[in-house]
């Protein structure tokens, strides 16, 4: 009891520093996104592909009477498509930003970590990853890379141009077949 009480006190002291993150997986890496920025975890869904869309678009999925555009995290990381069923997270819409989904391999759970264990991006990181990653938390199990949903929105990604080099097929379908 005594120990539990002390822990409680510690938490309160650290409340300013504590962040609750939702852990998610793509490939071999673990990522984290601030839970306040996630609106809903949809779980496994069938995605409708959109021909001719940029490669980072996983497809569209119906969500509460709307058509939700989803971003494929694997494609952003330059990984192969995932064999199994993907998980869809719906990102919270800030005032101006559009609502969109993020497609990952699997969603873990909610972890609370201290902001003090956050380390900045290493300077050796390549340009794409530098844009995507927002530092990493040093966890017991390894590193958890933080993602910033603002930077993951489809319109931001297409503006940046870092991820424009490929598309979901069809670019060669010019009239002079």
């Amino acid at each position: 009891m005594k120990i539990a009480g002390r822990e409680h006190v510690d938490e309160i002291q650290e409340e300013d520093d504590a962040v609750s993150l939702c852990s998610l997986y793509a490939g071999n890496e673990m990522f984290g996104i601030d839970t306040r920025k996630i609106r809903e975890v949809l779980g496994e869904r069938d995605l409708q592909r959109v021909p001719m869309s940029p490669a980072f678009i996983a497809g569209v999925v119906p969500y509460r009477g709307e058509v939700l555009t989803t971003v494929n995290l694997r494609a952003l990381l330059g990984l192969e498509a995932y064999a199994g069923k993907c998980c869809v997270l719906v990102m919270a819409d800030d005032e101006a930003a559009e609502r969109f989904g993020l497609v990952v391999d699997a969603v873990g759970g909610v972890v609370t970590v201290s902001r003090r264990v956050l380390e900045n991006n290493p300077c050796t990181l390549e340009a794409r990853a530098k844009w995507l990653f927002d530092g990493a938390y040093k966890m017991d199990a390894g590193l958890m890379v933080q993602l910033d949903p603002k930077k993951l929105s489809p319109s931001r990604l297409s503006e940046v141009g870092l991820f424009k080099n490929s598309s979901n097929g069809g670019l060669d379908a010019s009239p002079d077949r």
Binding site: Q48, V60, P62, V67, P154, S155, D172, A173
Partner: protein, 750 residues
């Protein structure tokens, strides 16, 4: 009109600033109602005023105008809007003199009254936005009231005395408040603008409609409850599903009904606009309306407001000539502008017709060459119809001089773009010296689109029915025969016309089904933005009424999809943008038309304008019916045909259709049937669209041969009173009953 009034005001605020009162932003219910009513009254007044100019003796009109102003005056006094009351009072006074016959209706008087209306509107807008009528710094009302008094002539001195006093007091007051509020007024501006926008978003709905909606929603909830309780396996599940279906359909219809607004609401602002325009351009124009009661979805009404305004401006500025020119051309000095709205095959058509000079083709071509829109060689080879299409190109304007009204190079391309954005289309027709007709065709509603769902590369796509001309089934074994190639492009020969083929799976970079597995293909013949092409798809699914959902900007950028929809089975389908697909595939409208002329058929098509359905009823004879009288071709089991009084009858969709059997097909088939064959009879369901289907009937035929265009032959000795036509160079008899009518119509056209 309300909008332009507000714009004028906002400029005015910039210059002077206005007094911000403590109760700013507070508009109570009573005032809101008063504003809405007054706005409606003023709308009515606007219509009446322009009519009054044409029919100065109409006391009914005058009465209506008087009532509108009087109501505003009466209510304002009660609500305590002094400024509004003063202005309304001045107007009422003038109208009173007019009503008593002391004054004549003149153009100046109408202008004065229109200004009075603008003034009243301005104050109403101000009240709506700020909750008070404010006191403007350099009181404009004083001038207006003085002007109205001037128009009232003999009573000038009476009114002027208190008038001056009013101007003086407001000036002093205004000076103080302008200084006091100079800081706050710029900050106020944005909120005022946004509030204005929200005011336009409200809609008046009949309480009955709202009640019906509520009832239907109640029924929907009940049906859902029953469904949840009974479960999928229950015996009454199909019945519940049917009820759900009917409730949904009813609810949808009711909601649509609530959204429908008469086109007249939009037309209402044109008389005033045309009047002002005609004055600036020195024209004499009369405006005529028809079909104002035609309903259109509110959002669509908003969407076509600007294109329509533009088209009306064009008609007055470019279309109708100056009175002197008109008299020289042998027409009445007064030009006529007709605005028509009517329903046609599931869409609403709005026509803007003027009896002006028409569009000068050679100037259009000259301009297009000047602006490098076409080459001189291309221009020389263009038909009149093709040349007319040039006016829709961006950056095209034929106005000799840039006037304040039009001629800035933004023109018909914007009109077309705006109308097409809402799924509509624009056509233009022009006859030299006779006038121009611009036809806007818009769907009834944006939200729900009838479409055909097709499959290509394993994915579902929706094609809007409005663009779908016909479907062709190409079985795999015939594929090689019917598809022809020129270079690398594939063409389908459809009734002697070559149709460019576009493979949807290839265009979108989807993995095509391997040819061995494929049972064949379907060709959807589509037409959009003047392009006609065949889209090759793997499979047809169901026709469905789809609910259009917008796509995110990134996906809109692809430019091939106009939206997405959730299908009946819960999956998503992308809605194909037919025009953009054509452009992406390289199908060009003009080139295709040149191709048509090359085959030599388009000429015939335009000249005769009649398509025939050709069939065989008597042995060895070809008979034709004009295609537009044939509603459907049905295959009916012989047993379903019943006889009464020796005449064959068919029960068809709850109607009893008399059958005509000229070739004694039924008799022959009966004989064959007794021999044990299962027989199907081909029946043409014929109706005359012009008489609302009253003359519907069926026609038993041996076989349907073709659809083709043809020319009717003149009746002479050789034809022996029969209606004959040449269709594809073969003699064909046109069926009597329907044929005569068609010929009459045809002669009218000629």
């Amino acid at each position: 009109m309300r909008l332009s009034g507000a714009e004028g005001d906002s400029k005015w605020w910039d210059a002077h600033g206005y007094r911000s009162l403590p109760d700013i932003g507070f508009v109570d219910e009573l005032t809101k109602e008063f504003i809405a009513e007054s706005q409606e009254g003023l709308d009515r007044m606007e219509r009446c005023l322009t009519e009054l100019e044409m029919r100065p003796d109409d006391s009914g009109l005058l009465g209506e105008i008087f009532r509108a102003v009087h109501t505003i005056k009466g209510t304002t006094g009660f609500l305590g809007f002094d400024r509004l009351e003063k202005l309304a009072h001045a107007g009422e006074h003038l109208l009173g003199s007019l009503r008593d016959g002391k004054l004549e209706v003149t153009s100046d008087l109408i202008s004065g009254l229109l200004r009075l209306m603008d003034g009243l509107r301005g104050i109403l807008v101000l009240i709506e936005e700020t909750g008070s009528e404010g006191t403007r710094a350099g009181d404009e009302d004083g001038e207006l009231i003085a002007e109205l008094a001037m128009l009232n002539g003999h009573e000038l001195s009476e009114i002027e005395a208190p008038q001056i006093a009013l101007v003086e007091t407001t000036k002093v007051e205004g000076g103080v408040t302008a200084a006091a509020s100079s800081g706050s007024s710029p900050a106020l501006q944005p909120t005022v603008v946004s509030e204005k926008a929200s005011a336009d978003k409200t809609l008046r709905i009949d309480v009955d409609v709202l009640n019906r909606m509520m009832n239907l929603v109640g029924e929907l909830v009940l049906t859902r409850n029953q469904m949840l309780q009974s479960g999928m396996e229950a015996a009454n599940f199909p019945e519940l599903a049917r009820r759900l279906d009917s409730v949904t359909a009813d609810l949808r219809e009711t909601v649509m009904q609530a959204r429908m607004q008469p086109v007249g609401n939009l037309f209402g602002k044109f008389p005033r606009m045309v009047r002002d325009l005609a004055r600036t351009c020195g024209r004499e124009v009369r405006v005529e309306f028809s079909g104002q009661e035609t309903g259109l979805d509110k959002s669509l009404l908003e969407a076509i407001k600007d294109p329509l305004t533009h088209a009306v401006r064009n008609a007055v500025d470019h279309g109708i000539e100056s009175p002197a020119d008109r008299v020289l051309a042998g027409k009445s000095a007064e030009g006529c502008l007709r605005l028509k709205a009517f329903h046609q095959s599931g869409s609403v058509v709005i026509e803007i017709e003027d009896d002006g000079a028409g569009i000068p083709i050679e100037r259009v071509l000259q301009k297009a060459i000047e602006r490098n829109l076409v080459t001189a060689e291309d221009a020389a080879g263009m038909s009149e119809r093709e040349a007319l299409q040039l006016i829709f190109l961006p950056g095209f304007s034929t106005a000799a001089a840039v006037t304040t009204v039009s001629g800035r190079g933004v023109g018909m391309d914007v009109v077309r773009a705006n109308v097409e954005k809402v799924g509509g289309s624009v056509e233009v027709e022009s006859r030299r010296g006779m006038g121009t007709t611009l036809r806007l065709r818009v769907p009834l509603t944006l939200a729900i689109v009838p479409s055909l769902v097709v499959k290509s590369g394993g994915q579902a796509f929706a094609l809007p029915q409005s663009t779908l001309v016909e479907l062709v089934d190409i079985p795999q074994r015939e594929f090689a025969q019917v598809v022809q190639r020129i270079g690398s492009s594939e063409l389908y020969r459809l009734r002697e016309r070559l149709l460019p083929m576009v493979w949807l799976d290839r265009l979108l970079g989807l993995e095509a089904d391997s040819p061995e597995q494929s049972k064949g293909h379907y060709l959807a013949v589509l037409e959009a933005e003047g392009c006609r092409y065949g889209l090759v798809v793997d499979d047809l699914m169901s026709p469905e009424e789809i609910v259009v959902k917008p796509l995110s900007p990134v996906l809109r950028e692809i430019g091939l999809f106009s939206g997405a929809t959730v299908l009946g089975n819960g999956t998503l389908a992308l809605i194909l943008d037919i025009g953009a697909t054509a452009a992406r595939a390289g199908v060009k409208p003009i080139e295709e038309e040149v191709g048509e002329i090359g085959t030599g058929e388009a000429g015939v098509h335009e000249a005769s304008g009649i398509s025939f359905l050709i069939f065989e009823d008597r042995l060895r004879e070809r008979t034709a019916l004009p295609l537009d009288v044939v509603e459907r071709i049905e295959s009916v089991p012989l047993g379903q045909i019943e006889y009464a009084g020796g005449r064959p009858l068919l029960q068809y969709r709850g109607e009893l259709l008399p059958l005509r059997d000229e070739g004694n097909v039924l008799g022959e088939m009966d004989a064959a049937h007794q021999a044990g064959d299962e027989a199907m009879v081909t029946v043409l369901i014929c109706g005359d669209a012009s008489v609302g289907g009253a003359q519907r009937g069926g026609m038993v035929v041996r076989q349907v041969l073709d659809v083709s265009t043809g020319t009717l032959l003149d009746r002479d000795e050789a034809t022996q009173g029969m209606e004959l036509a040449l269709v594809k160079e073969k003699l064909t008899q046109v069926h009597r009953e329907f044929g005569v009518k068609a010929k009459a119509a045809w002669q009218e056209v000629a």
